[in-house]
């Protein structure tokens, strides 16, 4: 009997959408939080938003102090010239990657389970890229002339240095940000039209009418729209891989032991997806609870995200092993020392073992179905993974730089209070944008959900699961 119940749970898990959904019901559930009166907005939203705003205030105060004083307020110095600003930049941009991967790669691979999580995952991507993109600009020293990195006709008659990874970063991040926003907005247009037609309030109606550009659901429009969306996905997919590869190459182009490494691009991309899926789970689990979206973001979504997190996490662990192996195999004294210092160094070895705990040991429970079925467990593991991925970047960047080639130039790194306030403040920036997003825009792509409802009604999304269950002699409800 226990086995039978377990099979039933699996069967339920395999549904990408709850039973008995209708087109109208999808609209109602998703649009309800957006269209409620400000006074009817739940208290948790106001409390969360207030905390996020307070952190954003801290961020802005730090930025003002940074610009008026200079980057001396950070702990960066020689030899560790790349401290928190780069650690946090790489961490944030990595988080962004799962969003594009869900919306682009899973669309191309025809994975229907992407549909209910792609919208807020894309929002997560954009907000994470905003947080990430501000870091390189702020750490430039003179942030107000960041546009010198752009090729534009200038009175100095100069070009930016196209051979420089800094300039690659600029192109990669600005392209990634603008293509992500375009992809997101185009995906939103039909949903904005839905909101335009549902909104009762005149001002709100006008707001969504302007944003939806007069979309009228015509079949010819749908035809071009679907093709354009697919093509955008097709270019976004390699874009995701290129952005984090570019960032990895920023490291690999140097001669620093531990950075000059060909494993870096794929290893960074896997780490990005790992951190990204952790963030998807961190956001999805409270969101589905708060807005009652359990029938749209089902256990299957959490289950699949957890599986992807486990798979990419193991790739990352493979990356750690290869890094150590290459350090030994290269026979280069500095590489070997770097590896030993990273793992057993008396000052910083603790970070390495903490990251092994967070990124390797903590994800092992995900092999178990029962853990993947428990939102609370997934939430906690995802938080640990987020910390772990931050530690990974810290170890690669700061710990590596403390002890390089010359004994005379060994040094230490200590983050200052402003390093921390800018980092925690950037979490506030992310949270502020995300709170605004869940209040003003539908957090689930309703038109695409309706396609799923249609498919579910007529072809049955769990058709094969049902047959398999019947073969095992299980009774199937519905």
């Amino acid at each position: 009997m226990a086995v039978r119940n377990r099979e039933r749970t699996v069967l339920e898990t395999n549904r990408v959408i709850g039973r008995n959904q209708t087109y109208g019901h999808v609209d109602d559930v998703v649009d309800a939080p957006v269209l409620t009166h400000p006074r009817a907005t739940p208290a948790w939203w106001y409390i969360g938003f207030a905390i996020a705003l307070a952190l954003l205030g801290m961020y802005l105060a730090t930025v003002v102090y940074l610009i008026t004083t200079g980057i001396g307020i950070f702990g960066n110095n020689i030899p560790v010239a790349w401290g928190f600003p780069i650690v946090n930049f790489v961490w944030w941009i990595g988080i962004g990657h799962a969003g594009t991967l869900i919306s682009a790669a899973l669309l191309l691979f025809r994975q229907p389970w992407r549909t209910s999580i792609n919208r807020f995952a894309e929002a997560m991507t954009i907000f994470a890229v905003v947080c990430a993109g501000l870091y390189p600009i702020l750490h430039l020293g003179r942030p107000w002339v960041f546009y010198w990195l752009l090729p534009y006709p200038n009175t100095m008659g100069l070009w930016p240095q196209f051979r420089s990874p800094l300039d690659w970063d600029l192109f990669a991040i600005s392209t990634y940000a603008s293509v992500s926003i375009l992809f997101w907005y185009i995906g939103l247009i039909p949903d904005l039209a839905t909101l335009r037609d549902r909104a009762k309030n005149k001002g709100l109606k006008l707001f969504y009418a302007l944003l939806s550009l007069g979309w009228n659901n015509s079949t010819k429009a749908w035809q071009r729209y679907m093709r354009a969306y697919l093509l955008l996905a097709a270019v976004s997919f390699p874009l995701v891989l290129s952005v984090h590869s570019t960032i990895a190459m920023d490291f690999a182009f140097s001669q620093v032991p531990g950075w000059n490494n060909t494993i870096m691009p794929p290893y960074f991309v896997a780490g990005a997806v790992f951190a990204g899926f952790a963030m998807v789970l961190i956001l999805a689990i409270p969101l589905r609870k708060a807005f009652g979206l359990e029938k749209l973001i089902t256990m299957r979504h959490l289950d699949n995200s957890a599986k992807l997190m486990l798979a990419t996490g193991l790739i990352v662990v493979y990356g750690y092993m290869i890094e150590l192996f290459i350090a030994w195999y290269s026979g280069v004294e500095f590489e070997r020392f770097m590896a030993l210092n990273r793992v057993f160094g008396e000052d910083h070895g603790i970070y390495f073992w903490a990251l092994i705990f967070c990124n390797f040991i903590a994800i092992q429970p995900l092999w178990s179905l029962r853990v993947r079925q428990s939102p609370l467990a997934l939430f906690i593991i995802s938080l640990i993974v987020s910390v772990g991925m931050w530690l990974e970047r810290f170890v690669i960047i700061s710990v590596t730089l403390t002890k390089e080639f010359l004994l005379s130039s060994w040094g230490d790194y200590d983050a200052t209070v402003f390093d921390w306030s800018l980092y925690i403040g950037s979490l506030g920036l992310f949270a502020t944008l995300f709170f605004l997003f869940i209040r003003l825009l539908p957090s689930i792509a309703t038109t695409e959900m309706k396609e799923l409802v249609h498919h579910d009604e007529h072809h049955g999304s769990d058709y094969f699961e049902t047959i398999r269950a019947r073969e095992r002699g299980l009774e199937v409800e519905g």
């Binding site: 603008s178 009228n216 079949t219 749908w222 093709r227 955008l232």
Partner: protein, 187 residues
């Protein structure tokens, strides 16, 4: 024919078309088949989501947006590389450690990003432009109950500009498809 008064009092020349409302995707697919078989060519359907195969059943040709994107991406990639080559070989050559001016492997990242940027924005903007967006007014919004086209209703419109359009005949034809509602929509 052009001065026949419709049931709502509009002249046919002010008429945008006849719109039939259906409850499900299956009904509108069947209606699209019937409409095409009856020889109507200036038709469009308005559905809450992209119903698979509806464009073909209405006799719409496939979109060429992919070719436009391929062209734009090629141009974007070429211009991206040319910019770097021009800057480093022609306009501002710098000898750094004896490396070649045209050190093309260094230019790949920016070339790739330019390809993606130009092709993505071309496909996005061309899609909007070909769909006539942004558009402040469209006659189809005069259809009664049309706000449910974004919810759960399916609309089929035979436009008055169709060569086979005849107010009485077309109306009779659409009635035979047993829609839940049939409306004459003004321009």
């Amino acid at each position: 024919m052009s001065d026949v008064t419709t049931t709502t009092g509009a002249q046919t020349r002010d008429l945008y078309g006849l719109v039939a409302e259906f409850d499900s995707a299956e009904e509108i697919l069947a209606a699209a088949d019937a409409t095409r078989a009856a020889g109507y060519t200036r038709t469009d359907a308005y559905t809450p989501f992209a119903v698979e195969g509806l464009d073909e059943r209405l006799g719409m040709k496939s979109t060429r947006i992919g070719w436009i994107m391929l062209l734009a991406g090629t141009i974007g990639g070429f211009l991206g590389f040319y910019m770097q080559w021009f800057a480093n070989v022609v306009h501002y050559p710098l000898n750094i450690g004896g490396r070649p001016f045209n050190s093309w492997p260094n230019f790949i990242v920016i070339t790739f990003e330019c390809t993606v940027l130009v092709s993505a924005f071309t496909v996005g903007l061309v899609m909007l432009a070909r769909n006539g967006l942004p558009r402040p007014y469209h006659p189809i919004f005069n259809t009664p109950n049309f706000e449910n086209a974004t919810r759960d209703k399916f609309f089929l419109c035979i436009e008055a500009s169709d060569p086979n359009f005849d107010l009485i005949e077309t109306r009779r034809f659409l009635e035979r498809l047993s829609p839940t509602r049939l409306s004459e929509v003004e321009r």
